[in-house]
Subunit: 219 residues, 2 copies
Amino acid sequence: MTNPGNSSRTKIKRLPEKAQTDVEALYSVLDSGLVAHVGVIDHGQPIVIPVGYARDRDTLLIHGSSASRLFTLLASGVPACVTVTRLDGLVLARSLFESSMNYRCAMVFGTATRLSGQAEVDALKVVTEHLMPGRWDDARQPTTKELKATMTLSLPLDECSVKISEGPPDDLDEDLESDAGKTIWAGHIPIFEQLGVPIPDQYVPRGTSLPDYVTTWAR
Amino acid sequence: MTNPGNSSRTKIKRLPEKAQTDVEALYSVLDSGLVAHVGVIDHGQPIVIPVGYARDRDTLLIHGSSASRLFTLLASGVPACVTVTRLDGLVLARSLFESSMNYRCAMVFGTATRLSGQAEVDALKVVTEHLMPGRWDDARQPTTKELKATMTLSLPLDECSVKISEGPPDDLDEDLESDAGKTIWAGHIPIFEQLGVPIPDQYVPRGTSLPDYVTTWAR
């Protein structure tokens, strides 16, 4: 988070200046999330909405309704910011000031381009396989009408930043050495996302087994 | 998510027009999260950053570094959007088009006001007690210097929207009745955040027990 206390453990990178290892950090953060927050300006007002997304090589893909005003706005080529944040833990420092959260955050700046035809179908497959690996081949494919109702956008990963905050708290020496500091518990508590037990809907015939590909999903 | 398939299960509310039950939905979403995504416009470019936050009655509180350009911008009274999203599950419909995610999302529109003096300390306590209940009284309090390095902002919950998508998929009748639709597993898979085992840092003396208040935290 934008916490005053974690600057020493925060890395900010701009892609144009960075080595392969930073591209890997960017890809790793983007590939680990399910939801991105897209920022766009609508009549001078910033709007931030959650979207499902996926990375496809050096582009970011998002999809929504073609009736959505915000997606139409995005497709018109206005500046956008797509942020993916993974909350990894709570950091309990001895001082409140150094207390913070561990997280990985990737920000992508750019303008979106609407995909159509086979490029859109390919992109929807990438998004589906990111969110629900194995599902594309099992579920009923989109019809022409459904594709028309879907807007699929691509953003290049040209201008990005990655911030990672991890590990234990970073307390001041005086807090480590003070009597109070020596008695207080300090450390970090991991946070992770977990999938619960799948719940079939009322139309699934009894005895229908969960697809194998679902059983391998883990967050 | 902004998915074309879930409109029937999505509720959009504007606070000015809504009943008490909708305020409760808003409060419930805001109170359930740890991280908000703040959108602000910087020289025509939307920027979306994650921040720790808390609700205090009918205001939203966020804090960051007073050296942060974006927090300085927010404090100057420019339009902001603060979005809190809780991802609750994957929705596996028989068609890819109706497949989506379950989530709760609250969006707050407005301008921020910087807090100072006792109002800032009170707000920081509310944020700390939201993120780490019980920690405020245990950890070392902020010094004047640390408060100077912290920027604490308040936004009124005057203009907000809440979207909630929950439950099973909403398949088309023809997919429920088709041969293929009858054999495919469909339903939803809950997603929840979980806290892992607390990890003390290297300076905590052996035998120091985890504070009782931490053991009651659950996500």
